[in-house]
């Protein structure tokens, strides 16, 4: 049985989807934002794989087909954006001011913490692109000479954490406008934040989608400037 598990292309993905649905059910049942389906699924899948002695490469033989859909799905984020175009046109100043201030906050905070925690240059540039979408963040980290694998891990952790705590953080800081909530989630937690924004509403989802693209591109420019500062 164990040997079969170790070679199965479907076992791992089935466990991931199953635990995701259990997560959704738990969240509905207990109405707690901290019971995050994405986190539950990732954590349980890792525990099961480790317990059954299945390595990630075997799991990914099946799971890579899920990842494959990410590019076409991200392309489709243009649809809610198009549907909210009037709102976007009306509020473009707020949208641009929000995303730009978020990107600058990301750079300044990483710089400040790098100085405070005594990081070296390579560790600093590894963390600079932590808030943006993986594909862009990897490129930035590589370009600046960071540890790309750590950058990817931190981007994923940021996404899961943002997906989990986004609603709570918005509440704490009295962010109530749907546009502002969407921008906050997308700028701070990229596409994983956007999936949460989609759950919150159409306006939130559209604004978050836009932030993923704009914040990503702004960070490419910003990170190359900030990399020279420390």
């Amino acid at each position: 049985m164990n040997e079969f598990m170790q070679d199965s292309a479907f076992a791992g993905v089935t466990i991931s989807l199953l635990t995701y649905f259990v997560g959704i059910h738990l969240k509905k049942r207990f109405k707690s934002g901290l019971l995050n389906p994405l986190l539950i699924s990732i954590a349980v899948t890792i525990v099961v794989l480790l317990a059954a002695n299945v390595d990630y490469e075997t799991y990914n033989m099946g799971a890579k087909y899920l990842s494959w859909f990410l590019t076409p799905a991200t392309v489709c984020l243009a649809i809610p954006l198009y549907e909210q175009f009037e709102l976007l046109k009306k509020n473009w100043m707020a949208v641009m001011a929000g995303i730009l201030s978020g990107v600058i906050t990301n750079m300044v905070t990483v710089l400040a913490l790098a100085v405070l925690l005594g990081l070296n240059h390579q560790e600093y540039v590894t963390l600079l692109p932590k808030s943006i979408t993986t594909a862009i963040g990897m490129g930035v980290s590589e370009e600046l000479g960071g540890y790309v694998t750590i950058t990817v891990a931190v981007i994923v952790i940021t996404g899961v954490l943002g997906n989990m705590t986004g609603e709570l953080i918005c509440k704490i800081f009295h962010i109530r406008e749907p546009i502002a909530k969407g921008l906050a989630l997308g700028t701070a937690a990229h596409a994983m934040g956007t999936t949460k924004a989609m759950e919150m509403g159409e306006i939130e989802g559209a604004m978050s989608s836009l932030s993923v693209a704009v914040a990503g591109v702004l960070t490419v420019v910003g990170a190359s400037i900030f990399a020279g500062l420390f």
Partner: protein, 126 residues
């Protein structure tokens, strides 16, 4: 035979493919998905692609998008080795920056929206 969904999926894949080509040709660190998103957005705005031509499959893909991130998350099981020596700084930076970026982005945009709204109300009262 109803090929509506197949046709929609084909359009979306075609745009993803064009995005991939642009990524290969242009020397920018922009992924295929972001090029594709811009292309689809422009095509919808100009009417080259009608909303109905991509809507059903598009909404479906967006709905199931969260599960597409599970493999990347499970991949963290392989990152433990590289993360371990940097665990404390990485944790501090991840949490602090996440909260700071979210709070600033949300507050700044909300401030601009609300300032705009009160100004408009002021004008309509005159």
């Amino acid at each position: 035979m109803e090929v509506k969904y197949l046709k929609q999926f084909l359009i979306i894949l075609l745009i993803s493919f064009i995005g991939e080509i642009l990524k290969a040709v242009l020397p920018l660190p922009v992924p295929a998905s972001i090029y594709g998103m811009v292309i689809l957005f422009v095509c919808l705005l100009t009417g080259i692609i009608k909303l109905e031509a991509v809507q059903d499959v598009g909404k479906f893909l967006i709905e199931i998008m969260p599960v597409m991130f599970i493999p990347a998350g499970v991949g963290l099981m392989n990152s433990w080795g590289v993360l371990k020596p940097m665990l404390i700084p990485v944790s501090v930076v991840t949490v602090v920056v996440l909260v700071a970026v979210m709070a600033v982005t949300g507050s700044v945009s909300q401030f601009v929206i609300r300032r705009g709204n009160t100004r408009q109300e002021g004008e309509s009262e005159k």
